[in-house]
Symmetry: C2
Subunit: 208 residues, 2 copies
């Protein structure tokens, strides 16, 4: 089964909204890329905002879906945090148009829809909050202002939209690894075990 027309429209819209911005992209632009005329789009949507909304909703729901799965997996707090960060970063390589548009243009949504998207966004951030809180309670992490650390983590990940390029020096996995190092060390109560200094570190087996 090939991609449905609706998904095609969303993919093209997301790409253009990302490249030129939501307001700067005209319905003609989108129609042109789909090889149809502008009014044809109105066979599928009621307004231009519908397109933006569908993109934002899809992005944040995918984020949440992934996070939900990770939280349900059997793993320690540290491992879950690692996976959550990796998932967050990987969304920028796998679905970069959608994710970027969601972060950069969400403010263009009409008030009502915008609020709903932001509530989903908070739901997503809550997974970070839970992990950090659990980490403090179990003595893994130092005492800290959890919501502020969540914002810091969200910030460093979301800011990917400003600089991430698929053809960049580092893969999504590598970026996530570096962010994880930074966050983990920043939150740990005790300093992590030093690695054997210069031993092979390709696949780390190091568990704490």
């Amino acid at each position: 089964m090939n991609k449905s027309r609706w998904e095609e429209i969303l993919a093209v819209s997301a790409r253009l909204f990302r490249e030129k911005g939501y307001r700067a992209t005209t319905m003609d632009d989108i129609a042109y890329e789909l090889n149809v005329t502008k009014p044809a789009l109105y066979y599928y949507i009621k307004t231009k905002h519908d397109l933006l909304y569908a993109i934002c909703e899809s992005a944040v729901e995918q984020l949440i879906e992934g996070a939900k799965q990770i939280m349900a997996e059997e793993a320690g707090i540290e491992e879950k945090l690692r996976r959550l960060l990796a998932w967050h970063v990987s969304m920028f390589s796998a679905n970069s148009d959608m994710t970027t548009v969601y972060l950069a243009e969400e403010s263009e949504l009409p008030e009502e829809k915008r609020k709903f998207i932001r509530s989903l966004s908070r739901e997503y951030q809550d997974y970070y909050r839970q992990l950090l809180q659990q980490g403090i309670e179990t003595g893994l992490f130092r005492e800290m202002e959890v919501p502020m650390v969540v914002r810091a983590i969200s910030g460093m990940c979301n800011w990917l939209f400003d600089w991430y390029r698929p053809d960049g020096k580092f893969s999504a996995e590598e970026i996530a690894g570096m962010f994880f190092d930074l966050v983990m060390r920043g939150c740990l109560k005790e300093q992590p075990e030093r690695k054997p200094a210069r031993a092979a570190r390709k696949r780390n087996a190091a568990k704490v």
Copy 2:
């Protein structure tokens, strides 16, 4: 001496661009808030883009100006990093309209001007880079991929535009303090001295 008309225009424009977005703000909106008619604005500017450009340039130049001063001060690496972060965050409380517009709408600038602003932005980030590099060289910080850490720091600070409110729970200084804690611990080679608190630390006399 009262604020010049030009500064007034920039301040009003920045506020509206922030509230409604650059594209959604009309020249009539700006003129209305200034109690003049639209063409009066064209006595001061040539195009709408001039307004956005002036705001972005002013924001990033103020950021750089502050960073330059901090870097020239007599202080250790750690203290300079603390001040740089505090300066970064404080721009969001002191000049939040301007700073937010610079981050959120810079992409609306025409290509040429946008490139210039982004080059200034890189200049600013370079101060973080220098400090981290020096920190590694002097043995204060662990080995790490400096540009990635700079991006993480920029991200957590810049993302303030998404959530910072002047009437929020924490002051700019407090936020900067928490960010500094997180970043500092994330970068240090050795764990920071625990405050004597009560008994001396149990573990962690082992330094590498």
